[in-house]
């Protein structure tokens, strides 16, 4: 059980780290497109790792309800499909409205 606790803590820690980095990137990056780089990637892996940690913990702590980990696994699967698609949709919307991407040396927006 100790190994499980260590693994779960590491997964949750990594997930929180990536989500935090995504939020910092959202604040630091200069324009819309680069901000989507930060959130689109970090939220996918961060959220996925947090759910994976919860999945492993539930699997070993409550073995009498094996369906909950299965549902969590479905959640990870759908997040990994839906998140890049949503990022791409936002990108496309911004590109079609004619938002110019930030180039090196310009002022931040």
């Amino acid at each position: 059980m100790l190994i499980v606790h260590i693994a779960v803590t590491m997964l949750l820690g990594a997930g929180i780290f990536f989500t935090l980095v995504g939020s910092i990137g959202l604040l630091r990056f200069p324009d819309f497109y680069t901000r989507l780089h930060a959130t689109g990637k970090c939220d996918t892996l961060g959220g996925g790792l947090i759910i994976l940690g919860a999945l492993i913990y539930h699997f070993f702590a409550y073995p009498e309800t094996p369906l909950v980990p299965a549902k969590l696994a479905f959640l990870i699967f759908f997040i990994f499909i839906a998140n890049p698609t949503a990022t791409h949709a936002l990108m496309k919307a911004a590109f079609k409205t004619g938002l110019k991407p930030w180039r090196l040396g310009e002022e931040r927006r």
Partner: protein, 178 residues
């Protein structure tokens, strides 16, 4: 052949839906199970063509290759996150965004969607636009190195084309048939 493919589509849709029903309900009473299976049968008879398109061949081989592609993709996602974390936390923010265009040999919806999602999840690149007729992609890259991975190495395009069997020669022969 046509009928066989249709049957395969109905069966596959039914199996997927039944698995979903059982997993998500978690109730194993006879009434619940049987009513669920009847619903699955009706839905898969009516709308199996939404999930399984009857056009392409060698579905099993393609799904197998897709399964092999997923671990590589997951590793790329981890690399992408470390890359973004490095760029965010670096005091001087080493970014130099640019938009690149390139053409691929892919034509089918599913393979284009897979490549677009893969590009979005891998280091430093996000898909902006896809033009299905020519397999053309517009991609926003956060720095020069990540753009080069798509323009020069083209590992990802080759991998996806390999998975869906739409490499250069195969696409050309398909067009020759049409």
């Amino acid at each position: 052949m046509k009928l066989k493919e249709k049957r395969f589509g109905i069966l596959l849709t039914f199996c997927i839906m039944a698995v979903f029903w059982i997993l998500l309900s978690g109730i194993f009473h006879a009434f619940c199970l049987i009513s669920g299976l009847i619903c699955c049968a009706i839905v898969s008879l009516i709308s199996h063509d939404l999930l399984v398109k009857g056009e392409s061949e060698k579905k099993l081989l393609k799904s197998l290759r897709l399964l092999l592609y997923i671990p590589w993709e997951l590793w790329q996602i981890v690399l992408a996150n470390i890359d973004v974390a490095y760029r965010v936390l670096h005091p001087r923010m080493p970014i130099d965004p640019l938009i690149i265009e390139f053409e691929t040999t892919l034509r089918k919806d599913f393979s284009l969607a897979t490549l677009a999602n893969s590009i979005t999840l891998t280091p430093g690149t996000i898909t902006i636009l896809v033009e299905p007729e020519r397999g053309k992609f517009w991609v926003h890259a956060i720095a020069k190195e990540s753009a080069d991975a798509l323009l020069v190495d083209q590992t990802m395009q080759r991998k996806v084309a390999h998975v869906f069997m739409e490499t250069q020669e195969e696409t050309e022969t398909q067009e020759a048939f049409e």
